[in-house]
Symmetry: C2
Subunit: 177 residues, 2 copies
């Protein structure tokens, strides 16, 4: 796929094959694209935590659901849509570009996932999650010291649906003055 094709045809996927985990090398390639995203003054303030521990995954899914409140009608109670892989992007609070840096890592990962034929979706509430005791536990287990901001989770896996058509870009979002 060309860059334009990757950008244009990528869609957020909210239905995953729960028991089909992508090979580690594909997950690593997705993460690598995230790590290579630009960061303010090259401080490389973002870090990516792959949540392998299934029990920890469950606790994250549960906490995220609690922060979210009742899901929209027709949505699964799991805010990660049963995705088998959860990547958590955090960014060092000492960097004033932390949220921007982490977002660019998320963006690169979504694009790379799509190029590799994987499905992904940005799952929010990482900021709130990282302010809870579970967030502190995650940082400690990951060996990340200091203050970190939760930027986003990437739910990753294989789509259990056809890839939807691209969203049309709404008129009026490009202005010149």
């Amino acid at each position: 796929m060309t860059f334009d094709e990757i950008v244009r045809t990528r869609r957020s996927i909210r239905k995953f094959v729960a028991d089909k985990t992508p090979p580690r090398e594909l997950v690593d390639a997705v993460v690598q694209a995230g790590l290579e995203a630009p960061t303010g003054r090259n401080r490389q303030s973002s870090a990516i935590i792959r949540i392998d521990d299934k029990d920890l995954q469950s606790r994250i899914r549960k906490l995220n659901a609690e922060i979210m409140g009742p899901p929209p009608p027709g949505r699964l109670p799991d805010p990660f849509y049963l995705a088998p892989v959860i990547l958590l992007v955090v960014a060092n609070a000492a960097a004033d570009t932390a949220v921007y840096d982490g977002s660019l890592a998320m963006g690169n990962m979504m694009l790379k996932a799509h190029e590799l034929g994987l499905a992904s979706c940005w799952i929010h509430r990482a900021r709130e999650e990282m302010e809870t005791p579970l967030g502190k536990e995650i940082l400690e287990r990951a060996g990340l010291e200091g203050e970190w901001i939760g930027v986003g989770h990437l739910a990753l896996g294989y789509a259990d649906m056809e890839l939807p058509a691209p969203h049309p870009v709404r008129e009026g979002r490009y202005r010149s003055i």
Copy 2:
């Protein structure tokens, strides 16, 4: 270039050929990639304003320099490094994903610019700028109503230097637990 090559070899450029403006179709292609970035719940909360008016550009450069304070030693007083094109990304404050959405637009634009052989750099202080009277004037001239958050500026043009080698990714930014 493959996606990996684009991601890996892109660098922020801080030295532009001041009087060499990229053709409009290249600038538009960069903007298009930004508009096609994902947005929370597809609200398409981001908008991209191309600042063509040279007088307005000067005022933005001057205000940005004031917000920044004295430049680092050896840096130009213009925080945009004389880049001929300034793209301003704003995001609708009504969307709780505004900053993330705008950041993803910035990310796609930096990647697309690099694929096209253009140089770019994310220039910050857009948030502060949009809270000033000049920011309000920009929104009014652009015809954007309501509350908007400044996310970033993209300085865009041709590099007046060799492309630097990629930054090595620092160890320890990828963890698994």
